[in-house]
C-alpha cells in the first residue's frame, strides 16, 4: 500500500540516444506513509522526477512502481495518485465544489458520495464557506487549500506536491507548512514533495532526497543529511549559511591551506589533497590560540551575527550568538572548533570521507 519504488530511472528529452539526458539513473525506495521531500537547485531534475511518478512525463529508462505495481505505461488517472501544482491549476470556470468533485464525477462516483467526500475534505481544510465561490474570488492561501482539497477527495495512495508553497508569501508559507505536516499526520498518505527551499525540506521531510544535476546526492533524514552530508554539494546546499569548504592539503595532524599551516587535534583521515568542511555554527572565537581568521565584514541578524572573513586565503563564515561581543572588522581572531564537527571530503569526487 502506498509505497513507491524508483529503480534506475532515466530521462532524456529528444530522440533516444541523441537526446539531452536530464536524469541519470535515479534509485529510491519510499515506504508507505512516508513524507519524502525531494530538494535541489533549479534544473536538477526534481520536478521531472515527480512528473514521471505522476505520469505526466514519459519514463525514458528504468521502472517506477507504486504499491508494487509498475506504472510506466499507466495513465496518470489510473495511478492512484493526486497532485498539487505550483500554480494550483484550479479550473477557473468551476466553483470550489466542482473543482474538487470533477475527478470523482469522471470516475463515476455516486453523487451522494461525492457530496460527502467533498464536505469532509472541505471540513479538514476549512473551505466549507467557500464551496460555491470561483477560484478567482479566493486568496492565494485559499486557492492552495482548494488544490489540496482536490487531491484529498481522490483518496489516493500517494500525494505529489510540486513546489506548492512557492507562490505564497513568507508568513503564509510557514503556516501552510505546518498545516501540511498536520494533514500528513492525520491522513498518513505517502507524500512526495518537491521544493528548492531547504527550510521547507528540513521541516517537512521524514526523509529527504537531495538531488543535483540529474543525480541523487544523498537520501536520508534531515538530521542525517545535516550532520553527515554525503558530498560537498549537499554540505554546501543544506544549511544556511552553507558549510565552509576549505580546499587544502592534509599532512599528518596539520592542514595546509593558502600557505598557512593549521594544526589539527588529530590526524586527517588521509594525507594529500582534501577538502575540510566546518559549519559556520560549529566554530567560535577563542581566547588566544586557534586558526587565524581575518575578519572582513559583520552582519547582524538579531539572534545571531555572521562574521565573514578569510582563513588561509579562503572565504570563511562564522555564526556567533548575537549577544556575544563582536570581533572588530579588519582584525585577526583565533578560531576554535571541536574535532567532532570537522567533515572531510575527497578533493576530486567531493565524496565524504569518514574519519
Amino acid at each position: 500500500m502506498g509505497s513507491i519504488s524508483i529503480r534506475n530511472v532515466t530521462k532524456q528529452y529528444g530522440l533516444p540516444g541523441k537526446g539531452t539526458p536530464v536524469l541519470h539513473g535515479i534509485d529510491a525506495e519510499i515506504a508507505d506513509g512516508e513524507f519524502i521531500v525531494i530538494v535541489g537547485p533549479s534544473g536538477c531534475g526534481k520536478s521531472t522526477l515527480l512528473r514521471m511518478v505522476a505520469g505526466l512525463e514519459e519514463i525514458s529508462g528504468g521502472q517506477i512502481a507504486i504499491s508494487g505495481r509498475v506504472v510506466n505505461d499507466i495513465e496518470p488517472s489510473e495511478r492512484d495518485i493526486a497532485m498539487v501544482f505550483q500554480n494550483y491549476a484550479l479550473y477557473p470556470h468551476m466553483s470550489v465544489f466542482d473543482n474538487m468533485a470533477y475527478g470523482l464525477k469522471i470516475a463515476g462516483v455516486p453523487k451522494a458520495e461525492i457530496q460527502q467526500r467533498v464536505d469532509k475534505a472541505a471540513g479538514i481544510l476549512q473551505l466549507g464557506a467557500l464551496l460555491q465561490r470561483r477560484p478567482r474570488e479566493l486568496s492565494g492561501g485559499q486557492r492552495q487549500r482548494v488544490a489540496m482539497g482536490r487531491a484529498i477527495v481522490r483518496q489516493p495512495q500517494v500525494f505529489l506536491f510540486d513546489e506548492p508553497l512557492s507562490n505564497l508569501d513568507a508568513k503564509l508559507r510557514a503556516q501552510t507548512r505546518i498545516e501540511i505536516r498536520k494533514l500528513h499526520a492525520e491522513l498518513g498518505v505517502t507524500s512526495l514533495f518537491v521544493t528548492h527551499d531547504q527550510v521547507e525540506a528540513m521541516t517537512l521531510a521524514q526523509r529527504m532526497i537531495v538531488m543535483n544535476a540529474g543525480r541523487v546526492e544523498q537520501i536520508g533524514s534531515p538530521e542525517a543529511v545535516y550532520a553527515r552530508p554525503a558530498t560537498t554539494f549537499v554540505a554546501g546546499f543544506i544549511g544556511s549559511p552553507p558549510m565552509n569548504l576549505l580546499r587544502g592539503r592534509a599532512d599528518g595532524a596539520t592542514f595546509h591551506i593558502g600557505g598557512q599551516v593549521l594544526p589539527l587535534t588529530h590526524r586527517a583521515p588521509r594525507d594529500g589533497d582534501i577538502i575540510l568542511g566546518l559549519r559556520p555554527e560549529h566554530a567560535s572565537i577563542g581566547q588566544s590560540v586557534g586558526w587565524p581568521l581575518q575578519v572582513e565584514l559583520l552582519e547582524m541578524l538579531g539572534a545571531e551575527r555572521l562574521v565573514h572573513g578569510k582563513l588561509g586565503g579562503s572565504e570563511f563564515t562564522l555564526r556567533l550568538d548575537g549577544t556575544l561581543p563582536p570581533p572588530a572588522e579588519g582584525h585577526t581572531v583565533p578560531l576554535q572548533w571541536s574535532r567532532d564537527h570537522l567533515h572531510w571530503f575527497d578533493a576530486e569526487t567531493g565524496a565524504r570521507i569518514e574519519s
Binding site: 488517472s77 497532485m83 505550483q86 491549476a89 475527478g103 469522471i106
Partner: protein
C-alpha cells in the same frame, strides 16, 4: 484625464455631434424614404419628414407585392435565407475553428506544423482570388441555389482558427495536466475546460461572423440565380432595375432597413457578452 475647460468641451461635442450626423443621416433618409410612396420620393426635393405609408410599404416588401421593374421576390423569404446562411456560417466557422485549433495546439501528429502553416497561408488569400475555382467546384457538386452552396465554401476560416489557437496557447499546461490526473480524456477536456473558457471569444466571433455572413454579397451573387434563394443583400440589388425603368424606391428602402435590423440586433444583444468578457476574464 478630467479637465475643466469649457471651450474644449464644446469643441469636442461639436465634433462628435457632426460625426453622428454624418453617420446617421443616410440611415434617417433611408428610413424616411421607406415610409413614403414611390411618387413622393421621386418628387424633388424629397420630404425629410416621415410619411404615412410605413406599414403598407413594409408589408408590401415582405410579401413581395412590388410592381417595380426589378425583382419582386418577397423579402420575408430573403430574410429567412440570409438568417439561415449567416447562422450556419457563424456557427459552422466557430465549430470548425475550435476543433482545428484544438487539434493543432494539443495533439502531436505528423505534419502538424505543415497543417498549421497551410491554414495560416489561406489568411493571406482574399476570397475573390479563389472564387472561380470555388465556383467550379460548387457548380459541379450541384450546390448552386442551395443553402449548402451559400454557406459551406465560406465556413472554413483561418482567422478564427488562428484566434482560438492563440487563446488555447494561453491556457496553462497545468490545467491540462490536472485534468489528465482527474481522468479527463482529450474530448472531455475540450468539452469541460476549453469550451467554457472560450465562451467569450466564441461570443465575439459569433457577432463578427454573423455580420460577415449576413453581408456576403459577391459569393451569393454568383451561386444564386433562383429568386427563392436570394439573400436579402442580393435582393436589394435585384430589386433595382437598371436604365430608365421605374423603381419602387420606397420598397427598396424598406428592404434596406429590414436588412439592417438583424445584424444590429445581434450586436446589441451580444454587447453584454462582449463587456462581460472584457470585465471578468476567467483565466
Amino acid at each position: 484625464m478630467v479637465e475643466r475647460r469649457p471651450t474644449l468641451g464644446i469643441l469636442a461635442h461639436v465634433v462628435l455631434i457632426l460625426g453622428v450626423i454624418i453617420v446617421a443621416f443616410p440611415l434617417y433618409v433611408t428610413f424616411v424614404a421607406s415610409t413614403q410612396t414611390a411618387q413622393d420620393i421621386v418628387n424633388a426635393p424629397m420630404s425629410l419628414l416621415p410619411g404615412s405609408h410605413l406599414v403598407e410599404n413594409y408589408t408590401a416588401a415582405i410579401q413581395g407585392r412590388s410592381s417595380g421593374a426589378g425583382s419582386t421576390a418577397p423579402v420575408g423569404r430573403m430574410m429567412f435565407v440570409s438568417l439561415v446562411s449567416a447562422l450556419v456560417i457563424a456557427i459552422g466557422k466557430i465549430a470548425i475553428s475550435l476543433l482545428s485549433a484544438f487539434a493543432i495546439v494539443y495533439f502531436r501528429f505528423r505534419f502538424r506544423m505543415v497543417a498549421f502553416w497551410a491554414i495560416f497561408m489561406t489568411l493571406m488569400l482574399p476570397v475573390e482570388v479563389r472564387i472561380s475555382p470555388t465556383y467550379k467546384v460548387v457548380a459541379d457538386l450541384g450546390m448552386l441555389n442551395t443553402f449548402a452552396g451559400l454557406t459551406v465554401p465560406l465556413i472554413a476560416s483561418a482567422t478564427a482558427t488562428f484566434l482560438f489557437r492563440q487563446f488555447f496557447l494561453t491556457v496553462p499546461d497545468e490545467l491540462l495536466e490536472a485534468a489528465r490526473i482527474d481522468g479527463a480524456g482529450p474530448m472531455r477536456f475540450f468539452k469541460d475546460m476549453l469550451l467554457p473558457l472560450s465562451r467569450t471569444s466564441m461570443a465575439a466571433l459569433f457577432v463578427i461572423q454573423f455580420i460577415y455572413g449576413w453581408n456576403q454579397y459577391l459569393w451569393p451573387l454568383l451561386v444564386t440565380t433562383d429568386e427563392s434563394m436570394y439573400p436579402v443583400v442580393i435582393g436589394i440589388k435585384r430589386m433595382i432595375a437598371g436604365g430608365e425603368a421605374a423603381n419602387e424606391w420606397n420598397l427598396v428602402m424598406a428592404t434596406a432597413v429590414l436588412a439592417m435590423i438583424p445584424p444590429a440586433l445581434v450586436v446589441m444583444l451580444m454587447q453584454k457578452w462582449f463587456v462581460k468578457g472584457l470585465v471578468d476574464t476567467e483565466k
